[in-house]
């Protein structure tokens, strides 16, 4: 098989990554995230109308009912309506709103769900989410440093931060709602992207020990080429189920699926370019990986 010169394009890849990161960070500072109810607090009511719902009429009803700042959107179909009230309404408002809607509509208004989140909870969640993210990164770095080597740990964590930031940036640029399930998806992205990165790192380590005379760039190119098929196939299978989830899983789970799709796509790219690139920048060499005790075992393996 012909070795693909992945690292020949590393300057371009670095530029692309930096650009994406800048856009992501820029958008996160300027536009910020479209925080979901879990984080902002407030009230959310989802109702199902027996016939096509007239959003303007509903807005009118809510305005005259004194619900200022209510956001009314259709949810999935033209019969399903989502109403979001900002922070400040009491926890009893959801039920009152529902009866106001029913009074103004001749058909049936069926309650799908009401969610009320108080102001205390949101801040805490943000804190917890951030903490979970940092903790996950820290522990993963520790594990890789222990199993591989410190430079690999840095490479993996750089790739993870890259993936998480760009996925967050994607949500910010697209104005997609960021709720609790998206946070879970983001943490799953960490796990998933790591999976890819480790497979690649594993091969790089193996080849550094096997191909003693090759230059680091060459070793990495060979390793990436060897694992390319696998990297693409695993991402593809995962993307297949995620697309199924996004298309058929219903509205509530869609944000989760989209976050993972974005994360897996970026994670695939980063396991090829970001992690390996970071290794080169830090000047990885075979001396980093030569463990005299392990060598004998390696030789034995090869003779199989």
């Amino acid at each position: 098989m012909k070795t693909i010169d992945f690292m020949g394009q590393r300057k371009l890849a670095t530029a692309v990554s930096v650009l994406l990161l800048l856009v992501a960070i820029g958008s996160l500072t300027v536009r910020q995230l479209n925080w979901g109810l879990d984080f902002t607090g407030g009230t959310l009511v989802e109702v199902h109308y027996s016939d096509t719902a007239d959003l303007n009429a509903i807005r009118g009803t809510l305005n005259s009912g004194g619900y200022e700042g209510a956001i009314v959107v259709s949810f999935g179909s033209d019969k399903d309506v989502l109403i979001r009230l900002p922070q400040g309404y009491s926890d009893k408002e959801g039920a009152a709103l529902l009866s106001a809607l029913q009074d103004a509509y001749p058909g049936d208004v069926e309650l799908r769900r009401i969610e009320f989140v108080g102001p205390q909870v949101g801040d805490e969640l943000r804190e917890q989410g951030g903490l979970a993210m940092l903790l996950a990164l820290g522990l993963v770095m520790l594990y890789i440093a222990f199993r591989f080597q410190f430079k690999f740990a840095v490479g993996a964590v750089v790739a993870l931060v890259h993936d998480v930031l760009i996925t967050l940036g994607f949500f910010s640029v697209m104005g997609l709602e960021f709720d609790l399930t998206v946070l879970a998806a983001l943490l799953a992205v960490i796990g998933y992207s790591l999976n890819d990165t480790i497979v690649v790192s594993d091969r790089i380590r193996e080849n550094f020990r096997k191909l003693r005379r090759a230059e680091p760039v060459e070793v990495i190119n060979i390793s990436l080429t060897e694992t390319l098929g696998r990297t693409l196939v695993t991402s593809l299978t995962t993307l297949l189920v995620l697309v199924a989830l996004a298309l058929f899983g219903g509205e509530i789970i869609r944000g989760f699926a989209i976050a993972l799709i974005a994360g897996v796509a970026i994670g695939t790219y980063s396991s090829i370019y970001v992690a390996a690139n970071t290794l080169l920048i830090m000047g990885v060499s075979k001396e980093d990986l030569m463990i005299p005790v392990k060598e004998g075992a390696e030789q034995e393996d090869l003779s199989l």
Binding site: I198, L247, I253
Partner: protein, 631 residues
């Protein structure tokens, strides 16, 4: 011989898969829609004639039912229905036929056959987002509980100083700290010794001002934590009791973190009512037993609550001494003679009121009333001919006990003369259940309608099926026979995942289903890793048997590393996350573990059975490598 498993390995695999299949099987039996009938209190038993009344009413309405049972204590009756759409009508019919005094709740009765349930196989529980219901998160106002306790110390310190004739000024500052001011250092030291002896929990600091020697008293961190803990766990008990009033079939009341309590009520739609009952501050009243010559306008008659004293009544004064809000603790114990007693602690205000009334009424009796909210149901025919159910709430007040007041009571007193330690325990429980130890606020509330729940299940199952089908199709096209093996392993993985979740008693939620879908995608990763390694080894010129052996051998270490790191993330998700995130984390971690078993061991066993132990020229693994290899 290469690529042959010893017999014991096959047996082990078959055994594990059999167990998995066995415990997953319980999920194949869809539960029956059912009605659960319980008495409103524990004394209200359900006998055959009660059940017959309910069944007759159902038959009159033409609602099909079957397999009606009453449990051995006579507390619960279960009526299974044929049609889920009739469940609500059936509920209304039965509660009307039985009248007040019975709670008729919607339920899903498991249909697990006894050959499964005898060995502990149960279907997975469904989360609220799948079954419909209400989820509340309450925050316990721990600061209020601490403040209440400081008030107690304030009054207590004042009392001690007064009794010992130590002149000083004791007050509480805005931060809740106690400040005691004295005119001389001597007085202060005297007071300090008294306070240290009387309330050892207080941390006493000396603060000197121009003409004043002060003590600033605060509670130690340890003590504050204790109070917080006590008030949260106390509230938990109270809330459990109150949830039972709501008549929900499988409620969940659980502590979450330092000061939060989660309450989940499946099947409930009326959140306003649920919140009113949960948030109620107190439901106890302490009143004097009326003198026999008291005018009728000043007294009221109450029945005893305990079934042992059914029919017995007492006349109590209309005037209250205190309500349950003032009760801060109640514990059953033994006095010095070994007789069962209940020790009651009141807050400072309660103590003052109690001593004011009891000091003038020694040798009279004091009744303790327990208040429960109940409903009378009326059926009204409306203008349009439909029938409306009107529930009229009323408070039922029954007497818990009416002991004699032996001396003037303060903030701490004792009820003795109880028949048994069991009675003491029950009384203490009722007294504690009467009040929340600290006020609660609702910080989160989620209601999911039953139709949305059903739709979530349908969509979830559909996306698992489609995802699985897509992956299966791809794998078979790309890896041929090896692909088929991987797909079989994937199905086994789903089965194992479901069985482990059922065994753990985990709750299936929508994010949990998402976790399952993701596991499907990730579980094949391991196989892709192995198979692509085998292809590579074939290209490197290894024989098919060698390639299989080397492919598995080399890929396993990588798979382990990759999965352990993902597992780390899943565990963190579980530890830090709440609600939906936790559900996702559970399925993800269980899925990772079962997938390692199926994707490595099971596929290897199948490949060994297909190719192992014989001369093989080619491997059906897709790609160019299928025709290479020398055999």
């Amino acid at each position: 011989m290469l690529n042959k498993y010893p017999l014991w390995k096959y047996l082990l695999l078959v055994f594990v898969l059999f167990l998995g299949g066995f415990y997953a099987a319980a999920n194949l039996y869809a539960p029956d829609p059912a009605l659960q009938v319980t008495g409103e209190n524990s004394a209200q038993l359900i006998d055959a004639s009660t059940l017959q009344r309910a069944l007759t009413a159902l038959e009159d309405k033409g609602i099909a039912h079957f397999d009606e049972t009453i449990d051995e204590n006579g507390r619960n009756a279960l009526i299974r229905l044929r049609d889920v759409d009739q469940q609500l009508v059936a509920q209304a019919t039965v509660s009307r036929a039985l009248g007040d005094g019975y709670i008729v709740a919607l339920n899903l009765a498991p249909t697990t056959p006894s050959w499964l349930s005898d060995y502990g196989a149960q279907p997975m529980k469904l989360g609220l987002d799948l079954s419909g219901g209400v989820h509340f998160k309450l925050e316990v106002d721990v600061d209020a509980a601490v403040e209440r306790r400081m008030e107690f110390y304030l009054n207590d310190t004042k009392r001690v100083l007064r009794e010992e004739r130590v002149r000083g000024l004791v007050s509480q500052d805005s931060n809740g700290r106690l400040e005691a001011r004295f005119n001389s250092e001597e007085l202060r030291e005297q007071a300090r010794a008294l306070m240290a002896q009387n309330s050892p929990e207080l941390v006493l600091d000396r603060v000197d001002e121009a003409d004043s020697w002060n003590i600033v008293a605060t509670l130690s961190e340890q003590k504050i934590k204790e109070i917080a803990d006590y008030s949260v766990s106390q509230n938990l008990t109270t809330l459990r009791n109150r949830v039972n009033e709501l008549g929900v079939s499988e409620p969940l009341v659980q502590r979450q973190g330092q000061r939060r309590i989660v309450v989940e009520l499946p099947g409930i739609q009326d959140t306003a009512e649920a919140k009113r009952i949960l948030g109620k501050v107190a439901n106890l009243e302490f009143r004097l037993v009326a003198r026999s010559d008291a005018p009728a306008a000043d007294k009221q008659r109450f029945e005893y609550r305990s079934p042992d004293r059914a029919g017995m009544t007492e006349w109590l004064e209309r005037e209250l001494i205190i309500t349950g809000e003032r009760v801060s603790s109640a514990q059953s114990n033994f006095d010095q003679n070994g007789q069962p007693v209940v020790n009651i602690g009141l807050d400072s205000e309660g103590g003052v009121m109690m001593s004011r009334v009891t000091s003038r009424n020694v040798k009279r009796r004091m009744g303790v009333l327990f208040i429960e909210r109940k409903y009378r149901t009326r059926y009204e025919v409306q203008e349009d001919g439909t029938e409306a159910i009107v529930k009229i709430p009323y408070d039922e007040k029954k007497l818990l006990t009416a002991p004699v007041i032996n001396e003037a009571l303060g903030a701490n007193f004792q009820i003795s003369g109880l028949d048994s330690p069991l009675e003491a325990k029950e009384l203490a429980l009722m007294l504690r259940a009467g009040a929340l130890a600290a006020p609660v606020t609702f910080v989160e509330e989620r209601t999911v309608g039953p139709s949305l729940g059903a739709e979530n299940i349908r969509l979830g199952v559909k996306s698992v099926q489609i995802g699985l089908a897509l992956v299966a199709l791809f794998m078979v096209l790309y890896y041929r026979v090896f692909g088929i093996v991987a797909v079989v392993a994937l199905s086994l993985n789903l089965m194992l995942l479901i069985s482990v979740m059922s065994l753990l008693g985990a709750t299936l939620t929508l994010p949990g289903i998402a976790g399952i879908v993701l596991t499907v995608g990730m579980a094949v990763d391991a196989n892709v890793l192995i198979f692509s390694r085998i292809r590579e080894e074939l290209r490197n010129g290894l024989s098919p048997q060698m390639a299989i052996h080397a492919g598995y051998g080399r890929a396993v270490a990588t798979i382990l590393d990759a999965n352990i790191t993902t597992l780390i993330v899943a565990v963190i998700l579980y530890a830090v996350g709440t609600g939906p995130v936790k559900g996702f984390a559970v399925t993800l971690s269980v899925g990772i573990l079962t997938s390692m078993f199926t994707a490595i061991m099971c596929t290897r066993a199948m490949i060994n059975l297909i190719y192992g132990g014989r001369r093989v020229k080619t491997l059906s693994i897709g790609g160019n490598s299928a025709v290479t290899g020398e055999g």
